[in-house]
Symmetry: C2
Subunit: 646 residues, 2 copies
């Protein structure tokens, strides 16, 4: 019964048996909100991002949004089709890292992994901050608490994820499906009104847009490309399902591919619908209020908020419904990362590119360490940037398209390898078809990556460009360390355990009481060559009292009292131990340390501090074996001591 | 060689031998700045506090400051004389707690201890914040960094104190003696100018003071008493020397008493001088700028700053000199607490009212734990109150006078006990004289305590009134816990160690490498009844590979492979251990856990996580002994394995 059980169970639930992992597998209807909240929610702002860029050229250029949107829809369809192939080919999951590792080599794999890791952290940070921004747009009084609210939401998401995937799934389903339903409701409402001949305009339709320059020729093309690149934010998170295939119920690959297709359907229809309404309502957005002729610092509602308000008119409840579900699904978009990151970290750990403990599941059969690591990184980012992440929202497109490109390129080679060994015509046809899809996808995303790099470089891509190589170097360093360790600990053929010929046991005692007697009993049960008790005393009076008691209870064990006038324990004890090892270098020296075990966490600081410090220092005396004898402080005392029968 | 040695040595210096503690004892000239910076610095604002209260009644009442000042000087002299007796009677140190414990019983002692602990924390917080306020008054641009600066200063003080008292003493001497010198310089300068007939006025002399009410009769008396109580801030910290007598060089008691007298001389002269100048220059201060007819939010310089500026006129350098040393000595006033708190905590721990590790000295022969605890509490207070502590500056007078009263009352009883056994006339005369001084002191401070309680109660004394009982209850709780533990661990007469008849050893292995072989060697050196190795494998392939290697190197030791499909380690291992204890309840079960020891701190997270988690859980299986076998990860590998000579 751990002292932590009370609060831990309250927060996380009871530890699950490994055998119950089967129960935590997901049906499609729960997998959609868990893995797809990121791509589904990004349609909430993708259209706006396109319009924001085009607005630099004034109202006249807004019509280019149609072309950008069309290109994005095409890209979305291709990428989703491509990832469906990955789901089938890699039912063990892994996404860009696994595919690159298997097909393109370790450098490409680590590049993909670095990109993905940065992406996941940015996803959490940006999604939560966007969701909080949606809230503070509705409730401006909360504006000064943006950082605090963001951190709170990240913490809540962390706790939910630590409780376990399946239970989180049920909670996450509500905002995701609610968002989809609300958006479709909005489409339906708008369709009915427009069919009845209403002319609906957004509140910003009448605002002019001051162009920041005139764009013709090459500049126009570049602007259009920038707008397209910005809109590609709609694709972020598509990869998550292929990463999480193992979490689906059987048949895993097919269910994952189907869910991906369903997500694609929702994403495309919502994106197209929002874009159509934005153009029809003549939504005008700009990065700065002054570009719309407004006073500096005026709050500008999001494009989606304007569409919702214009559609529902005076039906304010429905407007708040849309905003609420939008905020909810934005915050949950972060959850896509909470599934992807720990799983990726686990795989990296398996390949020894990351600390080993990221590879194991915790009490709730969740990769707890990975979840916590992600949360800490995201919180650090949010606090460091003071929750002003709206410009960095664009940066994680770079990493996204790096991993898209590497993943699909890897798939192309995967099919090539498979074709080399497959001779049946029907499978060959299927493989060629898949390969073609992946090839088209890889080419397109590579193109977009170039566009994104060109257009975003001057707009602060530095964060990603610094972080990715750092992670890359870090992971290579971890691998190098583990490889070195493997060399050090390798045993030559025929090696056998070395059994030390003698064992000198030193027992650390403070006074004569039950824990001491227990420790002495344990020491003697080890059949040692010699047993010596050692104690620290500050003055002669203390020493005298101890010795008197000692002779009464344990006359047959030698007691050495180390003189330490200022009650310093660790130094004299270490010196005595060193004496022992020096006196008999080929023997083993064991130090028996009694340790109190308390029932309540608040009692912890009251005991064992010397023991802890001593143990920490003894770790660096590798010829010394440390033996912990726990003594449970609970009444009544168990029979540790023998009292002779009178 | 601990991985922490690098940074630790850089910050704190090399660990000191207990034997060198004698070198860290203080001569009087260094003890003054260390123990007396608090009382010496409080004269910087005591006069201002008196004037602030009297200003409530308008300019007409300012003359009452003379009477308040006179009363305070009288009190100061009496209290200092009283504490000189304490220095002689208690050369082991301890102040109010020790004196109360010995003479008035545990309840009075804990009350005094609670008051002192709260005081020390408030001293650090208030002093540092006042010092920072002095700085930001000179450099207004730093105003928004008040909290950060305060925390930085607390941290710097903490590090200096962790380095060791004597070295800190040299650093602290400069601001303290500089402050005294600057103030006397200011007195001399003023005296010369006034002697030459100059009329010097403070910059606020022309400002009116809007009285907040008319004070006559009882109201006038109460106001005067409030002013006096506020001015009693000049006495804070007088107790510190009596607490720190053991830190003086021999003869400890006499040196401490002398230093106290010298401090009294400086304090009284500086306080009187500043008060005289404040009245002569007609310094007007008020809590709010509007009371002086100024615009709200106008910065109001401190009374001392006004005096310095008026004195030095255009000689600005000397003005900044005074301000700098004032700020410095205010911040160092916090240091009085850094000496008093850990020493008091050590004594409380010795009496089992506080966690035991506060009783021991750390590497630099400083009570490191106490220093860190104080720093954390002060930082918490500063951050929680957003560095706006100027009103709470008055609160710690309550605790100060509680401890003054209890201490001197205890001394009165101490002398009564001594007189009962002393028959020689000369010593009896001295004792009666001391007793009389202490009695007068106790009466006066009790009176002041009543005044302070009455006048301060409505002004936010709640912090102290909540904190003290909490600490009181906490300390009683700690004592109760330790008493309970003592009962649990007590051994009856004739008890002997219980030696378990059999020892079953389980060795945790992950694969066959050097640490495993070393652990197996250690296990066999314990001459156990049985040795079994246990390992966790996720699937049959892993298990097969392990077994093959095992049979090659360690065929004579049984290997059990625990099946854990999701790589969870702790659960299956615990289950196996419980199996062993259930199978043979009277035997001992030992679990041998190999542990990697790395050379660099950044490598720590890469290893041992399972071992740590397992060890933590095993603490709660008290019948299990945990055996740590460290393996040092440094090339070349030491001979842990025997390779048979071909």
């Amino acid at each position: 019964m751990s002292v932590w059980n009370g609060p831990k169970r309250l927060l996380f639930g009871t530890p699950l048996d490994s055998a119950r992992l089967g129960e935590t597998l997901l049906p499609k209807r729960l997998a959609l909100p868990i893995f797809c909240s990121d791509p589904l929610s990004s349609v909430a702002y993708a259209t706006e991002e396109i319009l924001l860029i085009l607005a630099l050229g004034g109202v006249a250029l807004l019509h280019l949004a149609w072309y950008a949107a069309a290109a994005i829809v095409l890209l979305l369809v291709v990428v989703i089709a491509s990832y469906r192939q990955t789901c089938h080919a890699y039912p063990g999951g892994g996404g860009a890292y696994v595919v690159s590792a298997e097909n393109l080599g370790p450098t490409a794999a680590l590049t993909a992994a670095s990109a993905l890791l940065v992406d996941y952290v940015l996803t959490v940070a940006v999604s939560v901050v966007s969701g909080v921004a949606a809230i503070t747009s509705a409730v401006p009084a909360l504006d000064r608490y943006q950082v605090l609210l963001s951190v709170v939401f990240v913490t809540v998401l962390t706790l939910l994820n630590l409780r376990g995937v399946r239970e989180s799934g049920r909670l996450f389903a509500i905002p995701t499906y609610g968002f989809i339903a609300a958006i479709y409701l909005m489409f339906g409402y708008a369709a009915v009104r427009l069919a009845w001949g209403a002319t609906i305009r957004a509140e910003s339709a009448t605002l002019p847009i001051h162009a920041t320059g005139s764009f013709t020729g090459l500049a126009l093309v570049l602007l259009a490309m920038r707008a397209f690149a910005s809109g590609c934010t709609a694709l972020t998170g598509v990869e998550a399902i292929s990463n999480g295939v193992p979490a689906f119920q059987e048949p895993k690959a097919r269910n994952a591919a189907t869910t991906l297709a369903v997500m694609g359907l929702f994403s495309v229809t919502m994106f197209v619908g929002i874009t159509v309404l934005a153009m029809a309502y003549r939504v005008h957005v700009a990065a700065d209020p002054t570009e719309l002729g407004l006073a500096p610092g005026t709050a500008m509602p999001t494009a989606l908020a304007q569409i919702a308000r214009a559609t529902f008119g005076d039906a304010n409840l429905l407007f708040y419904l849309v905003q609420t579900f939008t905020a909810g699904v934005l915050i949950l978009a972060a959850n896509t990362a909470f599934n992807g990151f720990p799983m990726l970290a686990s795989i990296l750990a398996r390949d020894r590119y990351a600390p080993r403990q990221l590879h194991n599941r915790g009490d709730r059969l969740v990769y707890s360490n990975g979840v916590v690591l992600l949360a800490l990184a995201a919180i650090g980012l949010i606090v460091a940037f003071d929750a002003q992440l709206t410009r960095i929202i664009q940066l994680y497109i770079i990493g996204v398209f790096v991993s898209f490109t590497l993943s699909q390129a890897g798939m192309v080679r995967h099919w090539r390898t498979a074709l080399a060994t497959e001779s049946e015509p029907a499978p060959r046809r299927r493989m060629r078809r898949s390969q073609a899809i992946n090839a088209v996808g890889a080419t397109l995303t590579a193109l977009v990556l170039v566009i994104v790099l060109i257009t975003k470089f001057t707009h602060g891509a530095w964060l990603v460009i610094i972080a990715m190589p750092l992670l890359f170097a870090g992971m290579k360093g971890v691998r190098r360390h583990y490889d070195q360790v493997a060399k050090i600990v390798a045993v030559p053929d025929g090696a056998r355990p070395h059994v030390p010929p003698r064992n000198h046991v030193l027992v650390l005692v403070s006074s004569v009481h039950a824990p001491t007697l227990k420790a002495l009993g344990v020491a003697q049960a080890l059949h040692p060559t010699s047993v010596t008790a050692m104690s620290v005393a500050a003055d002669a009076a203390d020493a005298e009292a101890l010795r008197t008691q000692w002779d009464q209870h344990v006359p047959d064990v030698a007691l050495e009292i180390l003189h330490s006038p200022y009650r310093e324990v660790v130094g004299p004890v270490l010196a005595r131990i060193r004496q022992e090892t020096a006196a008999d270098p080929t023997a083993m020296v064991s130090v028996v340390i009694p340790e109190y075990v308390v029932d309540h966490w608040w009692e912890q600081p009251l005991h064992n501090q010397n023991a802890l410090r001593l143990k920490a220092r003894l770790l660096f005396a590798p010829e010394v074996t440390v033996i912990d004898v726990p003594f449970r402080l609970a009444a009544p005392a168990p029979p540790q001591a023998d009292v002779p029968v009178p």
